[in-house]
């Protein structure tokens, strides 16, 4: 999976180009762990994600925990399919979705 990373000041935007499932989630995990060390806050641009499986949710949760002591994470451009999964699993109440 192609994952774009863009840094603006201490805000790092991660854009996964494709769906997040048990195959692609480990790749995203790697990127998240690498970026979390230096970033002040993480933004996930979900514009190209049509589905996210539980493995992907764990990645997001992991990122949220890594950034807990800093400025946290944010999900943007969340499509309605992904939003449905986030709602179903009660993640939407816990995450910052913009």
């Amino acid at each position: 999976m192609i994952i774009d990373v863009k840094k603006e000041g201490n805000v790092t935007t991660i854009t996964p180009r494709g769906n997040i499932d048990y195959v692609t989630a480990p790749e995203l995990d790697e990127v998240v762990e690498r970026e979390a060390a230096s970033a002040g806050s993480l933004v996930f641009d979900m514009c190209e994600v049509t589905y996210i499986s539980s493995a992907g949710l764990r990645t997001i949760l992991n990122a949220d925990e890594l950034m807990e002591d800093k400025d946290g994470i944010k999900l943007v451009n969340v499509g309605k399919e992904v939003k449905a999964i986030l709602d179903m699993t009660n993640f939407s109440g816990m995450l910052n979705i913009g």
């Binding site: 049509t50 589905y51 499986s53 949710l57 449905a84 999964i85 179903m88 993640f91 816990m94």
Partner: protein, 596 residues
């Protein structure tokens, strides 16, 4: 609660007032008659010359209280005092005028017990007994004496002489006449007070019984609703067959049942059954038998194995030693092959080309009673146009007015006469003929009938499926095919993405858990049929039922076990139906979702 409510008290008093009013009317007629008899000197009163005025006064008072009772019949509170006052007054005057005829006091003493009030009964009794004691003193004073005695010089107007007993003193008269009467009436009063209490108790008890009865009736009628709610209400809408069934319970709840449902897309299960026994206990047993059979057969395993398992489960919970006779069949809609098991039930009728004939059945032992029973499958092949008619013995053993039974021959005749009418109409025709046969005889047993026609073979092309290795390569093969199949099948993007998420979860599960460190294949079929997406996964990995895994609370971020439950939770929430079977060495997971 052993007191009467205010409403009940008022109701009983209004009723008592009615009875007392009627008796007052009779009393007033008697008094009136005597008034005329004495006035016209047809009869000589023993009393004073003003006797008839007293009688007239009585009548007036009675009439007045009757008018009041009529006007205020619902104001029970004070009306009883008015009525009882006039009855007592009339009794006193009538007694006095008619030669100290104490018997009339029986009237108020008995009547007061109608009011179910102890205090009121005591009051009336005390007044009456006092009047009996005081009455003679007054009557002597005005010169009225008893017929049986002679020669008494009164204070005002002596003396009535009747032939010869010698003279009597007031004291003597009092001792031999008034006192014994008063004592007898004292006993009668006690009796009346006792009756008051008994009446009251009975009223309370009948009220409680009525409440209890209403509760039981309500419970039973709810049980009946629940029972009929368990049976499929309508036929299944399929081109391959038509089916109809009805159960007519003899009591409000019955021990018969029927059921029909699709085991999978191409297999129809249907049955009729009869629990030994009737009423609510039999209905409850029926409910657990129905549920166990349905769930085990629905699991899609071999019919005999499913029935064996359901039997063991039912036996272990059968404390009342009931049993069920069951006839159950599973029809393969593709081939017309009908597998069936007959657990001690009547054989059904089958219509091949000619008319109806009993289907050959080797019955097994009844269902739900013995643990070690093994049921045997039997087979018959149906061709399009064939019909089966299932029933319980409530049909063939229905009794007519001449005490003969309906029997199989009559049933066969009705079935033959139905010709090509619909399965619903056949059920109706049998019901109608049974009612005609039974006439006025009450229905003694539940009547259950089920009719099915095999119309045409199931010919829908279903997916042959693909077999892929349970790894990343296989995963992307599956995902691209899934996208293709769902899009071609006309699914909306939302459903497509939801099913992609679901299949991603399931595949990940198989890769990670079913084969562990090793590797193996997954066979996946994908269908879009009847507005439903249906996907099956088959693998030969370790037995693993994902549905048995605990749903962890995904919100609990500190929960280390988050790993397991989340994916399955997503699968269960998205799909309408998720079924797991272990068949041989294979895990088979079936997912269904209606297309929105």
């Amino acid at each position: 609660m052993n007191v009467l409510t205010k409403e009940e008290q008022i109701e009983s008093e209004v009723k008592a007032n009615g009875i007392v009013s009627v008796l007052c009317m009779l009393l007033s007629v008697i008094v009136l008659v005597y008034f005329f008899l004495i006035r016209t000197h047809l009869v000589e009163s023993t009393g004073h010359e003003y006797t008839y005025f007293s009688l007239l006064a009585c009548d007036v008072i009675l009439a007045l209280s009757l008018v009041l009772a009529y006007l205020y019949h619902d104001r029970a509170g004070w009306m009883k005092y008015i009525l009882m006052f006039s009855v007592i007054l009339t009794s006193a005057i009538f007694c006095t005028c008619m030669g100290n005829n104490y018997l009339v006091y029986l009237l108020p003493i008995v009547l007061c017990s109608l009011y179910y009030r102890k205090a009121f009964s005591v009051l009336v009794s005390v007044v009456c007994v006092s009047l009996i004691l005081l009455g003679p003193v007054f009557t002597y004073a005005v010169g009225i004496v008893n017929y049986n005695y002679v020669e008494f010089a009164g204070f005002i107007d002596p003396v009535i002489l009747i032939k010869g007993y010698g003279s009597m003193s007031i004291f003597n008269e009092f001792m031999v006449s008034a006192l014994p009467s008063a004592l007898i009436f004292l006993i009668a009063s006690m009796l009346s007070i006792w009756l008051t209490e008994i009446g009251r108790d009975m009223l309370i008890r009948s009220r409680e019984a009525a409440i209890k009865e209403a509760m039981i009736e309500r419970d039973v009628s709810m049980a009946s609703d629940i029972q009929s709610g368990m049976l499929p209400a309508q036929g299944l809408e399929r081109q391959e067959f038509s089916i109809a069934a009805r159960m007519y319970p003899a009591k409000i709840v019955g021990g018969d049942f029927y059921d029909f449902f699709m085991v999978d897309d191409s297999h129809l299960a249907f049955m009729v059954a009869d629990v030994s026994g009737k009423g609510v206990p039999a209905a409850m047993f029926m409910a657990s038998a129905l549920t166990l059979i349905r769930s085990n057969v629905h699991a899609g395993t071999d019919l005999a194995m499913a029935m064996n398992k359901a039997n063991r489960e039912l036996v272990s919970s059968n404390s009342l030693k009931y049993f069920v006779t069951v006839w159950i069949g599973v029809l393969d809609l593709r081939t017309g092959t009908l597998e069936y098991i007959d657990a001690g039930h009547n054989p059904p009728f089958i219509r091949k080309e000619g008319g109806y004939a009993l289907l050959e059945c080797r019955p097994d032992f009844v269902f739900g009673r013995k643990n070690r029973i093994r049921f045997n499958k039997q087979y018959v092949t149906l061709v399009p146009g064939d019909r089966l008619f299932l029933y319980t013995d409530g049909v063939t053993e229905a009794v007519g007015p001449s005490k003969d039974m309906y029997g199989e021959d009559r049933l066969r005749a009705v079935l033959d006469s139905c010709g090509g009418s619909s399965v619903e109409d056949m059920i109706g025709a049998v019901r109608k003929d049974l009612l005609r046969f039974a006439g006025d005889e009450p229905q003694s047993d539940d009547v259950t009938t089920l009719c099915i026609e095999y119309c045409k073979p199931y010919d829908r092309r279903t997916d042959e499926g693909i077999t892929v290795p349970a790894d990343r390569e296989g995963y992307s093969l599956m995902m691209s095919r899934l996208h293709q199949v769902l899009t071609d099948g006309g699914c909306d993007p939302r459903t497509v993405s939801e099913m992609e998420t679901v299949c991603s979860e399931v595949f990940a599960n198989i890769d990670m858990y079913a084969y562990g460190e090793g590797t193996g294949d997954v066979h996946i079929t994908m269908d879009v049929l009847d507005g439903k997406v249906r996907i099956t996964f088959e693998d030969t990995g370790a037995p693993f039922n994902p549905l048995e895994h605990q749903e962890n609370n995904p919100v609990d971020r500190f929960n280390e076990r988050l790993q397991g439950g989340l994916g399955i939770m997503i699968v269960k929430r998205i799909c309408d139906d998720v079924m797991y079977v272990r068949r041989g060495d294979r895990n088979i997971l079936t997912l269904e979702k209606e297309i929105s």
